[in-house]
């Protein structure tokens, strides 16, 4: 744990002025740029190839999700959350459903909890796979993308078999699950676990000890644990900086208490450590899935929830460990069928703020690597 008392606003060292420093080049990267993962626009101030400063311009994908929520019932808003972090839709749904359940003071039955954990962890893997593929592509390795997409496909097939959708799954309902698992769900998941384990070694074989990969990622986009906490960075990015903090352990939700898994951490807080942390999280997710699928209890899948959801007046903040970091829902109820206010605390939005700190003094090529390693999804940044 870092020493919180020594924390002060970030002291950022300005990089040396170098050759021809009179010619500061301002480059606009995005919103249409292959490496900004969507419609992120970054205005870079460059000195040669060195980044002197940058500013993110976001909001190109702003849809007013929070405003929509105020005009929909609790049930109707459920599918909307899938559209924020669309590569980890299941996690979004889990956070929302649990928040509303808390507000209603009900709890999903154990069987539903187990299925939720399995699907959420599968989704975490899918999200990390997408991240790995695109991140490696940004750094110039094109092959991992195809490997990860091949394996992500298997996860999406399970989703599709379970709820009919591949990406925006809308898998959970307030109070539990709508659908019982299909026949052979456990077998599919077990097959997938056995299938994907050697594949993760395959990804690592291509990258982990690759000299160029090491040179491109080691020491790039460094952020200390202290700075990461001050900037509110969460998820694998925070853990790679050496802060052993995972909401699944710290403030357990769903039934993560019942599972035995480790929190992988890094030491240097650089891009390589973030890569290693996520690779380790693949394996931890597999562990959780294996334990969960072996112990799915029989029983109901839906708690007793009224047909019309009308939570009592009050407010709640509930957060989960999404693949990208802390995903929180702050819900204010006025006792009606529609939420009075829903605030989503998006991990990508807050993590993206660290981009400037991580990029200053680095080279343009590193900006690409750092955007990749932050694992942002613009749908969630802009909501």
């Amino acid at each position: 744990m870092t020493d919180p008392t020594s924390l002060s606003p970030l002291d950022l060292e300005t990089p040396d002025k170098t050759f021809l420093d009179a010619n500061e080049l301002v480059i606009n990267m995005g919103p249409q740029h292959p490496a900004t993962h969507g419609v992120l626009r970054v205005i870079l101030r460059l000195d040669g190839e060195k980044v002197m400063g940058l500013e993110c311009v976001i909001g190109y994908l702003h849809r007013g999700v929070e405003k929509i929520a105020e005009n929909r019932t609790y049930t109707m808003f459920n599918p909307y959350v899938d559209r924020m972090d669309y590569v980890a839709a299941v996690s979004n749904g889990l956070g929302y459903c649990e928040a509303v359940e808390k507000l209603l003071n009900v709890e999903a039955p154990p069987r539903a909890q187990y299925v939720r954990v399995i699907l959420t962890e599968l989704n975490r893997m899918a999200s990390h796979q997408l991240w790995l593929g695109t991140h490696a592509l940004d750094i110039g390795a094109i092959t991992p993308l195809f490997y990860t997409f091949r394996d992500r496909e298997e996860i999406l097939k399970i989703f599709e078999k379970y709820c009919g959708a591949r990406l925006t799954t809308h898998a959970f309902r307030i109070g539990g699950l709508q659908y019982e698992t299909y026949d052979g769900f456990e077998k599919d998941v077990k097959t997938f676990v056995a299938f994907v384990r050697p594949k993760i070694d395959e990804y690592e074989e291509l990258l982990t000890t690759n000299r160029i990969w090491l040179e491109r990622t080691k020491g790039v986009g460094k952020i200390s644990g202290k700075d990461a906490i001050a900037l509110g960075v969460t998820g694998p990015v925070l853990r790679a900086s050496g802060v052993k903090w995972d909401i699944r352990k710290a403030l357990p939700y769903a039934n993560y208490k019942n599972f035995d898994f480790d929190i992988p951490t890094g030491e240097n807080g650089d891009t390589y450590d973030r890569y290693l942390v996520r690779m380790a999280e693949f394996r931890q997710s597999l562990r959780i899935i294996e334990q969960a699928v072996d112990h799915i209890p029989e029983g109901p899948i839906m708690a007793k929830v009224p047909k019309v959801i009308k939570p009592p007046v009050g407010e709640i903040y509930h957060s989960i460990e999404a693949p990208k970091g802390e995903l929180g829902y702050f819900i204010v109820s006025d006792g009606s069928t529609q939420p009075y206010r829903i605030r989503v605390r998006p991990p990508s939005f807050v993590n993206l703020q660290a981009l400037e700190v991580m990029c200053r003094g680095q080279l343009v090529a590193d900006v690409i690597a750092v955007i990749g390693t932050l694992d942002i999804v613009l749908g969630e940044v802009d909501r």
Binding site: P4, H62, I229, G232, W245, Y317
Partner: protein, 158 residues
């Protein structure tokens, strides 16, 4: 902790609990000090979120909330205050660097200004946009038609 704060600040603080979650309603005038104290003395080193809620019928229209988390204590707390429309709040960027964008978003969506913020401008909506969409008096279909006409060249403004 709560008792200590209560002892120091008296009636300005009202600690509450709902569904097992602690929060305290703090008087506007105490906000800068309380946040500082929470950060430095009570080790709430991580500002999770800043947000606001609009109650148009109240005299003090806005609830502003700070959701804080302490790594050493493994505890979350919400600090809540009420302000009127047009009233400003002190920026907490010097306390938690993360609040930079969060405060900008609150400004963008509610029009609440934060004094001392390094770069107080809209973040999600375009710079010239009129209105603050998360206020209750801003309709869900409402848009800044003028902005759309000028910048996107769409005649109807929709």
């Amino acid at each position: 902790m709560i008792a200590k704060l209560k002892g120091n600040y008296g009636s300005g603080i009202e600690p509450l609990t709902y569904l097992g979650q602690n929060y305290m309603v703090v008087d506007r005038s105490l906000i800068p000090e309380i946040l500082q104290v929470l950060r430095n003395e009570e080790q709430f080193d991580y500002c999770v979120d800043i947000t606001a809620v609009h109650y148009p019928k109240r005299e003090k229209q806005f609830d502003v909330l700070w959701i804080l988390y302490s790594f050493p204590r493994n505890q979350r707390i919400r600090v809540k205050t009420q302000i009127a429309d047009g009233e400003t709040l002190p920026s907490s960027v010097p306390i938690w660097a993360t609040t930079n964008w969060l405060e900008r978003e609150v400004f963008d969506m509610f029009g609440i200004r934060f004094d001392g913020h390094p770069d107080m401008k809209r973040i999600l909506l375009p710079d010239g946009w009129k209105g603050h969409p998360l206020r209750k008096d801003y309709g869900i279909l409402q848009q800044d038609n003028e902005w759309v006409q000028i910048n996107l060249g769409i005649e109807s403004g929709q």
